[in-house]
Symmetry: D2
Subunit: 126 residues, 4 copies
């Protein structure tokens, strides 16, 4: 095996995903196809590609372009994904933002914290 | 919002996935449920949990325990996942290994390298 | 080159560090040796090793065991690192926690947010 | 605390570093300032900034611009860092590459593998 293949692999790097997304997506009522689509968007954003098209997404997924387009629509409607107007120096552009997804995950983390606090209190009162 | 929630989030950390898995799983004929199951196994391994049961996996996925069990079987048969006999000091234990998955991804990377080389050669000869 | 070397490399994985630590450690008055020591502690914690000794740290660093021990003391005194009493089922154990470091980085992020908000307000008032 | 600060933190993301760099930089005779400088370069490359200047690096480090410039020179001379001529559509540009660093780390991994193999052989012969 050529050593360059290994160097290329390292240069390609890794995609980092908040552990809480992996742990809690089910609680957000996302299925595996939807969470993978969000991971693809996240990975494109990390590479500086801010608006992957349904065609680009379908190239990497086991779903058709039409399916990807419908999933994007559904994820935006349900508040997991947002389109933001970006302004490059000279022209307007659209950018996906995952901020709504992180916001929902934070909400789950907050609820869990409250539950834990109450349990501690109850245990203390006994 | 409590600052502890944010500190907990940071301590929970991130899951790092080789970029090539995200890019190339379709070429390996994995669908989104299967690649997510492999990502769950990877994330458990990173936490030191070497043998997540179908029940544990089903708790995080939109699939039943039976489905998860069948997917694990299928992934092992198709050579993406392996069960290794580990030996803790005093007792034998079973450990999932993703080495076969990485091996398949490396094979894809090697083929792409060969194709690129041939294209370069052809271009040079012209 | 043996393909196993590459598979081992992938299984060894990556260390994920919050981007803000890399960007802002200078503002926290940490030097490179100190931030690297914190990164070593972080990497041991990720592997489930909760109390790396000065000896273990010195094996990876260009500093002596005594230096590492003094740096750990200094980092604890200055509030970047904490020793917590953990309780394994049967015995007490000590665990390093980086929560104070994350807390300091969050404080910096909050200050930057305030500055940005004020700039926006001023710009709006003009 | 404002929830936006936390969302910004998540969007800022993490820097992923091959675990072997953290484990083995001492064996490469790199000190903490040098390895942190390489990590800064790595983090800029991940963000798409291919040629951070000594000034930009000094802004994040506890070293002066002159120091950073000399460290860059030294790292290039000792074969850890490379300047590559890139070609953007219309103009030539210079890009740092960490491929020589990964190459050195792979060499260490190969040597360790050989040592392990010989130990196994010797054990088998007994």
């Amino acid at each position: 095996m050529d050593r360059n293949i290994m160097i290329n692999w390292i240069n390609d790097g890794t995609i980092s995903i908040p552990a809480r997304l992996i742990k809690d997506y089910k609680k957000l009522k996302l299925n595996e196809s939807e969470v993978m689509l969000l991971i693809h968007v996240h990975s494109f954003l990390q590479q500086g590609i801010s608006f992957p098209t349904p065609e680009v997404l379908a190239n990497r997924m086991s779903h058709s372009e039409t399916d990807c387009s419908q999933m994007l629509q559904s994820l935006m409607k349900r508040g997991f994904l947002e389109l933001q107007e970006g302004k490059d120096e000279t022209m307007f552009s659209e950018t996906f933002s995952l901020s709504p997804l992180w916001d929902k995950l934070i909400s789950i983390a907050c609820q869990q914290e409250v539950v834990k606090d109450e349990e501690t209190k109850e245990a203390d009162e006994k």
